[in-house]
Symmetry: C2
Subunit: 194 residues, 2 copies
């Protein structure tokens, strides 16, 4: 559908600029110029600057949630499912690194209702992930001497932090890094006691 690439062009330009300069430091004028359209065109497709930001969140949230759902639906041993889910989310986060930067940095710039919506959707993801860990703990695979919240935070933090150090132009391969991070995480939470 080449129908309206205006909306897409604007979104892409916005992601790039928001990631580079931050939401507050980026004017609508800059975005439309970078996208090669005019303000009128943009406001034809988006209600507000806030709406534009939310579109970026909506995209990421849907994407990651659908991936997780799909992986869990495929079933299999908990360990395998968890590993696949972890590797996938790291890889996806690397693929959408700029989106991730905006995602984690600008949530507080959204208007209150939309911020709540993002919180709600993230909690859904979090809870689904938590149930995986819980199943693993029930099977005696993962340590239970540490609050589950800490275990989960220990992985989510890696996703979060990616945009702060990973360089797509650097030497590290994204799939390899995804496996390495997952490995560090799973090794850390594995039950080792007698």
């Amino acid at each position: 559908m080449k129908a309206t690439n205006v909306a897409d062009d604007v979104t892409h330009a916005a992601v790039r600029l928001f990631a580079e300069q931050g939401y507050a430091n980026t004017s609508v004028q800059q975005i439309v110029e970078a996208a090669g359209v005019t303000k009128g065109a943009m406001y034809h497709y988006f209600e507000s600057k806030d709406d534009l930001l939310f579109a970026i969140y909506e995209r990421m949230l849907s994407l990651q949630k659908s991936h997780l759902d799909e992986i869990i639906a495929r079933g299999g041993p908990v360990e395998d499912v968890l590993r696949t889910a972890c590797v996938d989310v790291v890889e996806t986060s690397i693929e959408f690194l700029a989106e991730g930067t905006v995602f984690f940095r600008s949530q507080h710039m959204l208007t209150e209702p939309r911020q709540q919506e993002v919180v709600r959707r993230r909690r859904e993801y979090h809870d689904e992930f938590a149930r995986l860990i819980q199943r693993g703990q029930a099977e005696g695979l993962y340590r239970a001497d540490v609050p589950r919240a800490v275990l989960i935070a220990n992985f989510f933090s890696d996703i979060h932090y990616l945009s702060h150090w990973y360089d797509p132009a650097g030497p590290e391969d994204k799939t390899l890094v995804a496996e390495q991070i997952t490995d560090l995480f799973l090794t850390g939470i594995r039950r080792t006691d007698a």
Copy 2:
């Protein structure tokens, strides 16, 4: 020195408001009102809003660097030094949770030269931490099959993420959490192969 608590009052109010609403969404007027001073007084102690933000960074950077220096200076086995350093930085980060929120969220709001200064100082900290890991690897304590950058990111990410989930009013004790996080990290990077 009760001499000038104006500067302190302003800084504390600023940290709180920046953490709550973000730097861009907080007006200087709000800050001075919250601090119970006037704009004139504030601009007597700070050159600009940016200067105020940088003061927060300066404080955190100095604090954490001095802690790390001191712990390394005390010497001892690498494993012990690293563990102490990790626990300390997590604990400190919890104590200064609001500062941390601002620290990681608003770096791109600083003017370019100051942003560079922050990058420089953070790299100093990073490199010192990296040398500890390197020593541990040389002694065969830590795995070397994963790039050192990944190992380090795996820990720094936890620090970074703290302000996103840790609730000071919650049930988790900060020292305990610090030890748990450190434990997960050290377990993950420990060499286990034959």
